[in-house]
Subunit: 159 residues, 2 copies
């Protein structure tokens, strides 16, 4: 029971998609543990370099490189701040593109909690009503959508 | 406007979470482009080694190593098959843990389509009603949940 395929995805002789596939484009960008941990921290409200280092356990060098990369990819924005009698520093905040990855990061947490449970328990709840929050595929008509009922279509964009 | 934090996540002196964080546990496993491409293909119905190689563009060696890794991590299961006058071979299918990652892979596609558009267009639709499919945070009371209304709680599991 897999997804249903249309367009360039149909047919068993389908070639490598490479850059034609937006899943590949996204994964080339985010498929790195350090990236996911920094996005997790940004979604938790961490803004400052030293806190990113402490809370992720990444080295200063990896943190600096990956923060720079996330800024250049447009997932974080760098904002100057200055405390009294200190030199100017920068803090980091999620852009819209960065915020759009937060549900994916939370869905990884939900998956980890279900399939790799340990001594700690991670729960996502809705602040307004207290009910548990899940990541789910839903359609614009409001239906919950099961995997076999998703049609994935890849097509040449109309000019 | 970030997530709301509770339990071990509350407090600005919060230390590195490391293995205590299920997001980290999941990302250590899936944060690799080759893994995401192989999961994409498995969700598209690809089962055989040669097809995984052709359709992902990964080398045979990377494909073999990563398929082995996905089997040992319990995301794929290996099933023997034999065609007439051929030696026994194996095909690969998603386990429940693997299927649970498919919405995340599709959400990466949705993100890539929105934030890294190219000449091809990826669309997800609901087979039953034709409406567009999105990945969204929803609560068990049926509300669509915005990022600032998600409470993330990490706690020691009760014995």
């Amino acid at each position: 029971m897999t997804l249903q395929l249309k367009g360039l995805l149909a047919g068993s002789d389908r070639p490598e998609l490479g850059d034609a596939c937006p899943i590949d484009r996204a994964s080339s960008l985010v498929a790195r543990r350090s990236t996911i941990l920094l996005l997790r921290e940004a979604s938790y409200g961490t803004t400052r370099f030293d806190e990113f280092v402490t809370r992720t356990g990444l080295t200063e060098s990896v943190t600096a490189n990956q923060l720079r990369n996330l800024v250049s990819e447009g997932l974080l924005v760098k904002v100057p701040y200055q405390e009294p009698s200190q030199r100017q520093r920068f803090e980091y905040a999620l852009t819209e593109a960065g915020h759009d990855l937060v549900p994916i990061v939370m869905a990884l947490g939900e998956w980890g909690e279900k399939h790799r449970p340990r001594t700690n328990w991670l729960g996502l709840t809705h602040a307004d009503c207290g009910a548990r929050v899940h990541m789910a595929l839903t359609c614009e008509a409001g239906h919950a959508v099961r995997e076999p009922d998703v049609v994935v279509s890849l097509e040449h964009r109309q000019p």
